[in-house]
């Protein structure tokens, strides 16, 4: 019995190694994605074009401009005169914001009176607009650091003190890649046998259906697991993502999540009749929601209530919470028992569903 199971595994491995193109993608895709998310996809704003219209031309206004130039957040161009058509500046994308320093800026400050600065922002990217407003306000108040305050703020940023994007994205990427490989590839592998009619041949062989499925699924499990570890190692070496928690716990949770991916793939394979349908279904039903609604990039707490509910039935939501917890916060099971048990529960449901669906298919 064991031997027939192994021969199914071997047969699947031969399939994998024969399709060079797909194998190449399975191995290089995660690395490319890692490089992309590590280098290119960063939400840290910089080099924003700002036009400062200095109507005052006083020592005070020049000091303010110096303060703005000192941050690498802005690329400053100073206009001596006024700015006639702000709308036109935004339309030809000369700058993303215009700061106007009023004529009486110097005198008012010297007199100790409050001054207002007009800041026009092209808010078609609202996130950037928010940052611009925050930064300019901060820089402007910097010029008055000597003022006596009733109290001050002392911020401390935990877990990711430089607020970099790479530690945020890279653990989440593991969730995405594991799912992509486990769900997508297994569903295609199973449907391919259906399409070519070899599934029937396998079923009339003395191997039990469960063994066939397990045998087909096992090689992809290894591939997915390997890719996940690769991301973790390369990510921590290349992008300095610190691994605070236990690596063993990470691997255990990855196994749990691999099972999720596999059962999703099996479910898709029982629904789909052709490989292209399987692929479309796997992408739209599993990969896209896991990418967009799991908190991988976009914060769940900011979504409309109904989508927050949807995100709670997506396994990736819990896995991302778990893996970020372990990697960045050094969480152990004590902190994570809730998402971990939900993930296990979802696993059980998915396995039961896919076995049922598979049995119905067979009969």
């Amino acid at each position: 019995m064991k031997r027939s199971f192994l021969s199914i595994v071997r047969k699947e491995l031969i399939h994998i190694f024969r399709d060079r193109q797909s194998l190449f993608m399975v191995l290089t895709m995660p690395l490319l994605m890692l490089l992309l998310y590590g280098y290119a996809i960063t939400l840290d704003m910089k080099a924003i074009d700002i036009i400062v219209a200095d109507h005052s031309a006083s020592p005070e206004s020049r000091e303010l401009i110096r303060h703005i130039e000192a941050t690498d957040f802005f690329k400053v161009s100073v206009y001596k005169g006024g700015v006639a058509h702000i709308g036109e500046i935004f339309q030809n994308r000369e700058a993303q914001c215009v700061l106007e320093i009023p004529r009486d800026y110097g005198e008012t400050i010297r007199a100790g009176l409050p001054v207002q600065l007009q800041l026009s922002i092209d808010a078609s990217d609202p996130n950037a607009a928010n940052f611009i407003q925050n930064y300019v306000s901060r820089v402007a108040s910097l010029s008055f650091a000597d003022q006596t305050m009733l109290f001050s703020l002392e911020p401390r940023i935990f877990y990711n003190p430089d607020m970099r994007s790479a530690p945020f994205f890279i653990p989440g990427l593991i969730a995405l890649i594991l799912l992509l490989i486990c769900a997508l590839l297994t569903s295609i592998a199973i449907v391919r046998e259906k399409e070519t009619g070899t599934m029937e041949q396998l079923l009339v062989s003395p191997v039990k259906p469960v063994q066939i499925i397990l045998g087909k699924v096992l090689p992809y499990t290894f591939l997915g697991f390997f890719d996940g570890l690769m991301i973790l190692v390369v990510g921590s070496l290349l992008f300095h993502v610190p691994i605070q928690g236990s690596v063993l716990l990470i691997m255990a949770m990855m196994l749990v999540y691999v099972v999720t991916g596999l059962s999703l793939g099996m479910l898709v394979s029982t629904v789909a009749k052709t490989q292209s349908v399987a692929m479309l279904a796997a992408i739209t039903m599993t990969v896209l929601p896991s990418m967009l609604m799991s908190g991988f990039i976009f914060p769940i707490s900011s979504m409309p209530r109904i989508f927050q509910l949807v995100s709670r039935i997506i396994p990736a939501t819990y896995f991302i919470e778990i893996i970020r917890g372990i990697v960045l916060k050094g969480n152990d099971l004590h902190n994570l028992y809730k998402p971990a048990s939900i993930l296990l529960g979802l696993d059980a449901v998915l396995i039961a569903l896919s076995i049922r669906a598979f049995k119905i298919r067979l009969e």
């Binding site: 607009a129 407003q133 008055f144 109290f151 976009f298």
Partner: protein, 369 residues
């Protein structure tokens, strides 16, 4: 001309027979815009907040009242100790903690300028920065109120009055929805073209077409016309969906928008034909199309401003047609930018489209021979 017309007719007949196309073109844009447009937001709301009050004075209670009254924060309640609060951060329950130290009020009265400690979960650096910004400006507001009430000299200081153009509510939908329309157009037209051609290869009907008196050029044109029409239809559905589902109107000129779409469709169809020459099976075609799509998407400025990227990646994005099209969409959609400020994008898109279509058609010919 007549030959091309009959080819186009044949393609349309096939398209009409495939029910999935209808779903893709008429239903998918609404569904995807609805789901993605609502889920994708990088606004920061409902920041879960815990406060530790070690002072227990009217001043500290006022701070708690002010923070719990604002909708941006999801005030979870008080924690008794700092340890309890940082455990809430560890467990992921709270994203921010404010600690009001003992003798806060007394130190203020003595002019010692005590400090409020703010602990922030920095895992999501972007949200952390924005949350800190909110907390800072709330604190500044409270401070100012107290100084005015206490007849203290509110020394001038600079106040920045922001004026937000094009999107005064800072609603991230306005930014994402036009981009999504472009993205959907790219996905559907590229994939459909690639799969359609590879399918004919797989079925062997491409050879049959080759032995008819049709030239290779006519064959390609016969493929391009129907998919251009499908793309335009799908784009129109996208515009309608944006208007009906999210109430986002086009500010700029609609003919200009369609002109740009035509230029962009040339590039997507060119890509589709190219993929069909690389792949032998539909599965491979989908794989290639899907993976190249991820990169096209991430390097287009859709999620992440291109300015944020390192220099060499920025150079890479110059090769990405979606980059230009998303710029064009956002400019025309939100700002009503005229052609005068968009001719560069038009020239580049047109150039890319022509090159892609010509090069991949030539490759297609060679492959067939």
């Amino acid at each position: 001309m007549g030959k091309i017309r009959s080819l186009v007719k044949k393609e349309f007949r096939q398209i009409r027979r495939t029910k999935a196309y209808f779903a893709l073109i008429f239903v998918a844009p609404f569904m995807q815009l609805l789901i993605m447009g609502s889920a994708i937001t990088n606004e920061v709301k409902n920041i879960s907040l815990v406060i530790v009050d070690q002072d227990k004075t009217p001043a500290s209670r006022e701070i708690i009242d002010k923070f719990s009254a604002v909708a941006i924060f999801d005030y979870l309640g008080e924690a008794r100790t700092t340890e309890e609060a940082s455990l809430a951060l560890d467990d992921g329950l709270a994203k921010a903690v404010i600690i009001i130290p003992r003798d806060f009020e007394r130190d203020m009265e003595r002019g010692l300028s005590p400090s409020l400690q703010v602990l922030i979960d920095g895992v999501d650096g972007n949200s952390a920065g924005i949350s800190l910004g909110y907390i800072t400006s709330m604190a500044a507001g409270i401070q100012k109120g107290w100084m005015m009430a206490g007849q203290l000299p509110v020394s001038g200081g600079v106040q920045v009055i922001p004026r937000y153009f094009y999107n005064p509510e800072l609603d991230s939908k306005l930014n994402f929805v036009p981009g999504l329309i472009g993205l959907l157009l790219l996905m559907i037209t590229t994939m459909l073209t690639a799969i359609n051609i590879v399918r004919e290869k797989e079925l062997g009907t491409l050879e049959q077409l080759m032995v008819t008196p049709l030239g290779g050029t006519q064959l390609i044109i016969g493929k391009i016309i129907p998919f251009t029409i499908l793309g335009l239809l799908q784009f129109t559905m996208g515009i309608l969906a944006a208007r009906l589902v999210f109430g986002i109107p086009v500010q700029g000129s609609i003919p200009l928008l369609y002109g740009m779409v035509l230029l962009f469709i040339m590039t997507t169809l060119g890509l589709g034909i190219f993929f069909s020459t690389v792949a032998n099976t539909q599965q491979q075609a989908m794989f290639v199309a899907w993976f190249s799509m991820i990169f096209t998407l991430l390097l287009s400025g859709f999620f992440v401003p291109i300015n944020n990227m390192p220099r060499f990646v920025q150079y890479l994005t110059y090769l990405n047609p979606l980059r230009y099209f998303i710029t064009v969409l956002r400019e025309i959609y939100l700002k009503g930018t005229p052609f005068r400020d968009l001719w560069r994008e038009a020239v580049i898109l047109g150039g890319m489209g022509l090159t892609l279509i010509l090069a991949s058609s030539m490759r297609f010919h060679k492959r067939l021979k």
